[in-house]
Structures are given as structure tokens and as C-alpha cells.
């Protein structure tokens, strides 16, 4: 894990920034979100992929690609969470002043 993070830090940073931007936007976004049931399915899919990765059942290059994808996805999610929370915090500070 440490090796993968060191080797791909650029891509992980890019994923994190992408997540940050997406999270920032998501707070004020007016479009349609994913429905609750779809979210569950997606979460389940992510968990299944994570389990597959941890069990090391996919060999060779596909296994590596899965690990890489999951790490980038995790960085993205972390970026989203931080971005959304920041945006929310900024908004809540400005609202009382208005």
C-alpha cells in the first residue's frame, strides 16, 4: 500500500483534487442525485471490489489495476467529503451576515 501510494502519488493527488472540486460543487448543485437504492447498490459494488482486492484473487496486471483504481477512488471520495464539508462551512459562515 505504501509502495503504491509513493509510486502513484501524483495520480492520487489528482484524484483528491478532483474529489475536492466535485465536493465543492455538489453542495450547491441543483441537479438530480442518485436515488437511495442505487447508492446502496453502488456502495455494495465498491465493497465487493474492495473485498476482491484485499483477498488478492485477481492475478497479475488486472489485480494491480483494481488496486490502483480503488486507491484513486478512495482519494476521490476523501476529496469529495472534504470539499463538500468546506463549502458547507463557508456557506454557513456567510449566511448570517446576509
Amino acid at each position: 500500500m505504501a509502495y503504491l501510494a509513493t509510486f502513484h502519488w501524483g495520480w492520487l493527488l489528482a484524484s483528491l483534487l478532483l474529489g475536492l472540486a466535485m465536493g465543492w460543487i455538489a453542495v450547491v448543485h441543483r441537479g438530480q442525485g442518485v436515488s437511495k437504492s442505487t447508492s446502496w447498490w453502488l456502495a455494495l459494488l465498491a465493497a465487493a471490489l474492495l473485498a476482491t482486492s484485499l483477498a488478492r484473487v485477481i492475478p497479475g496486471r488486472p489485480g494491480y489495476w483494481l488496486d490502483l483504481g480503488l486507491m484513486m477512488f478512495a482519494a476521490y471520495l476523501a476529496g469529495c467529503a472534504v470539499g463538500s464539508w468546506l463549502r458547507d462551512w463557508v456557506l454557513s459562515r456567510h449566511t448570517p451576515a446576509v
Binding site: 489485480g63 477512488f73 467529503a81
Partner: protein
């Protein structure tokens, strides 16, 4: 927290560029990362002893194939690769090098090269053996056909290094080590090489032994050539040691009374037993030839040349075979020298005087038995006597002045008679010779020195 769930439902659009990122990252990083892992894995194996080590990386999974020399070595190599950071799985394709029984190693020498074959326990010992072969053999090409195998006896390398030293002493042949048994065959390079190898093999490490030694030595050759034109006797080849050398040189001086002895003999070990006992009579036989070659090769004596007369040829052929030690072979190729033109009595006398000036007929001390060393001189005298068939010859015996006159007189008569008998036995008519003893009455030198006495003890041939 509730907000986070609400917002997260709107995070999905970012996944589309994320997937694009992911694809690019996978596309660009796979090969560099695999190369990096391969380099690290190879570096981790730097200090382990392996043969045919091969590392292939797919993603983060390493396929590791190698031949290990022990179970422990194999496990530790595997652990080293597993411990490389970033490696996810190791596919173990290692195996132990095959164990052989018996563990055979060989070094074979032919004219142009030395081939090392069989088995070697470790790559390091293999390279040490090759290095030692290069060092021991100078410029000779060394071919490596050794396999790596387990099952070598302890001290294998020491034994093999010792044997490699011996291969330099062979002209051709093979040295084989089978477990702890050494077999040798071939031809030694030099005389004494076989003995040197036997001596060196005593230093084999404990537990090793010689199972068969079939090293042959080159023939032990001694040659003597009597050249009547240059009036020389040339001795070449080998003698066992300096004592034998001195004895042979002295015998040659005695037996070849008129020839100059050219001594090119070298001392060397490896002589067949009974060498001196065989060469002495063979030299005596050669001294009776007008021209001839003596070749002693191992236990075979070959004598060829021309005798002075028929009876001499017969005597030489029959005599030498009896004089040789047991187990020795004798081959004679003796012809008779063509008869020389007759001369008149005065020339005959001159020829006798010349011969007897160069050498004296020798007897055993105080007795009338002719010394075999004088056979060559007598043959020349007989040949001369047969050139003047009409001359009557007095065989005159003389002694030195030591002892009483009566016994000297008797001894001189007996010695003159002995020479006469010898001539008659050689086929000359008895009525041509008269044996006369003069005791010490006609000295040719003073009797006060040993040299003078020796000159006075003589047989003269006087043409009447």
C-alpha cells in the same frame, strides 16, 4: 453528517473524469512499476547463491524461477523476494538443483584442450576450478562442460583442485573423481611424471582414495651409437641417477678403448628395474661391433650393427641374451662387416702396434682370465690377424716387476696362452700363433710408478 449523505448523491459526475485518470494512470505506470519491482527483486537476491535465476513481474505479482543448492537457500531466496516492498504475490517456481549419485567430476586432456566435465557443487567452486585449470595449464584451451548438482562429497573442491594440478603432468588422458574414488588413465608428459602424480595423490583430502591408476609413462630410452668414422661413442637418453651415470661412463671408457665418448645422458627417475645390469653387458656387446647402435627402451634391448667376423656375430647374439636380467627382451640385428683387403706382414705389425698402443688387453688381477672389457680390442686384433693370413705371430706376455720372477714368468706364459686360445676360438688357425712368456724381463717403462707398471703388464703381437 446527514448533509454528507445528501451531498454524496451528487458526487457521481466526478467519477467520469476519475475513470479517465485511472485509465491513463494504468496505461502509463504499469511497465515502469513492473521494471522497478523487478530491479528491486533482483537486488534482493544479490547475495543468495542460485543458478538460472529468472524474475518476471506482472502487475505487482512476481514469478520467481531459480535453481537452488539447498532447501534453506531456496526458502531464504523466496523470503527475500517476498520482502521486497510493493510485491503482492510471489509465484514460486524455484527448485533444487538435481542431486546426483555418484557425484562424478572429470578432467580430460587431449592434444589441444582440457575438458572439465561432470558435476560441480556450486557456481563459485565451478569458477574456481576453471580458474585453477587456466593457471595450471598455461596457454591450453579449457572447455567447461560441468553441470551444477548437489551431492558432492565433503572436501570435493580440494580434491578436484589437486587433481587439476596433475592433469598438467599428462600428455593426454583423463582423471575422474567418482564420489571419493579417483581414476586416472593416460600418458605422462615426462619421464617421472607418473611417479610425480602418484606422490602428489598422497595429499588427497581424507576419505579420498585412488581406485585405479592406469597412467603410462613414456618409454625410458637409453641409446648408444658407435661411429667408426668420427671414432666416437655417443650416449644419449636417460640414466636413473648420477652413480649409474658415472659407472656407465667409466665402463664406456674401458670398453671403447679408441673411441671418444660423447656423453649426453640425463638423469631421470622411472628407469625399469635392472637398468644398469642390462645396459653394462649391452655396451660390452656394442664395443665388439665395428659400427652399431644400441637402443634400450624400457625393458627391451635392441642392438644392430656389424661384427668384425662370423664367430663374433654368433657370440654376441648368443651371449647378450644370457647376460640380461630376467624379464628383459633382447633383439639383435647383427651382420658381419665385409672382409677388409689383405695386407703384407709389415703393415700387419704396424696395425697391431697401433691398436695395442691405444689399448691393452686386460686380465683379472694376478690371473690369466681375460677381462670382458677387452673383447672389443681382441676383435680388432683378430680382424687384423686375418688380414695377413700368411704371417706367423708371436703372442708375447709381459708382467711388471712386482713379485718373484718365477711366478711372473708363469703368469706371462699363461696370459699369452689365454690370448692365443681366444684367437683360435675365434676361428684363426692355431699353427700361426706361438705363445711366449717373458715375465718382467722386457719392461717398456719404469716399475717404480703405477703407470709404468701398468704399461709393463701387456701382451704384444709380434709378426715373425
Amino acid at each position: 453528517m446527514h448533509g454528507l449523505f445528501r451531498w454524496s448523491s451528487k458526487w457521481w459526475p466526478g467519477v467520469i473524469p476519475l475513470v479517465v485518470f485511472w485509465a491513463i494512470a494504468a496505461w502509463t505506470n504499469t511497465l515502469p512499476m513492473e521494471a522497478d519491482l523487478a530491479a528491486h527483486s533482483t537486488a534482493a537476491l544479490k547475495d543468495t547463491v542460485l543458478d538460472k535465476s529468472r524474475i518476471t513481474v506482472a502487475g505487482r505479482d512476481v514469478t520467481f524461477a531459480a535453481d537452488a543448492f539447498s532447501q534453506d537457500g531456496r526458502r531464504s531466496a523466496l523470503a527475500s523476494v517476498e520482502a521486497v516492498p510493493g510485491v503482492r504475490l510471489v509465484n514460486d517456481e524455484t527448485r533444487l538443483v538435481p542431486e546426483v549419485n555418484p557425484f562424478v567430476w572429470s578432467a580430460e586432456r587431449d592434444v589441444a584442450r582440457v575438458t572439465l566435465g561432470g558435476n560441480s557443487p556450486l557456481p563459485a567452486s565451478k569458477s574456481r576450478l576453471l580458474e585453477a585449470a587456466h593457471a595450471a595449464l598455461g596457454g591450453v584451451e579449457v572447455v567447461d562442460q560441468m553441470n551444477l548438482s548437489r551431492g558432492a562429497p565433503s572436501h570435493f573442491e580440494n580434491a578436484a583442485l589437486l587433481l587439476l594440478d596433475q592433469i598438467g603432468k599428462l600428455k593426454d588422458g583423463k582423471i575422474e573423481l567418482s564420489d571419493t574414488k579417483v581414476s586416472l588413465s593416460g600418458m605422462a608428459r615426462d619421464l617421472g611424471g607418473r611417479e610425480a602424480i602418484v606422490a602428489a595423490l598422497k595429499n588427497l583430502p581424507e576419505g579420498f582414495s585412488v581406485a585405479s591408476d592406469q597412467i603410462k609413462a613414456p618409454p625410458y630410452v637409453f641409446q648408444a651409437y658407435k661411429d667408426p668414422v668420427a671414432v666416437t661413442l655417443t650416449l644419449t637418453g636417460y640414466v636413473p641417477d648420477n652413480n649409474v651415470h658415472a659407472a656407465l661412463a667409466a665402463a664406456a671408457e674401458r670398453k671403447f678403448f679408441s673411441e671418444k665418448v660423447v656423453d649426453n645422458l640425463k638423469a631421470s627417475i622411472g628407469a625399469p628395474s635392472g637398468f644398469a645390469a642390462a645396459v653394462m653387458p649391452a655396451l660390452g656387446a656394442l664395443s665388439r661391433l665395428s659400427t652399431g647402435t644400441l637402443v634400450v627402451s624400457d625393458r627391451e634391448v635392441k642392438l644392430s650393427g656389424d661384427a668384425f667376423y662370423d664367430a663374433a656375430a654368433v657370440q654376441i647374439r648368443a651371449g647378450l641374451g644370457k647376460d640380461l636380467p630376467k624379464d628383459w627382451q633382447f633383439k639383435a640385428d647383427i651382420s658381419v662387416k665385409p672382409a677388409v683387403a689383405p695386407v703384407d706382414a709389415t703393415v700387419c705389425q704396424q696395425l697391431f702396434s697401433d691398436l695395442l698402443a691405444k689399448g691393452r688387453i686386460q686380465f683379472e688381477s694376478g690371473r690369466a682370465t681375460i677381462d670382458p672389457d677387452s673383447a672389443g680390442l681382441l676383435d680388432r686384433l683378430i680382424e687384423t690377424a686375418s688380414r695377413c693370413p700368411n704371417a706367423n705371430i708371436e703372442i708375447a706376455g709381459h708382467t711388471d716387476g712386482v713379485g718373484d720372477e718365477a711366478s711372473n714368468q708363469a703368469l706371462s706364459e699363461k696370459r699369452a696362452q689365454a690370448v692365443t686360445d681366444y684367437l683360435v676360438k675365434a676361428g684363426l688357425p692355431a699353427d700361426r700363433f706361438t705363445a711366449t712368456g717373458y715375465g718382467s724381463t722386457q719392461p717398456v717403462a719404469g716399475n717404480d710408478t703405477d703407470e709404468g707398471k701398468a704399461q709393463n703388464r701387456r701382451i704384444d703381437f709380434v709378426v715373425r
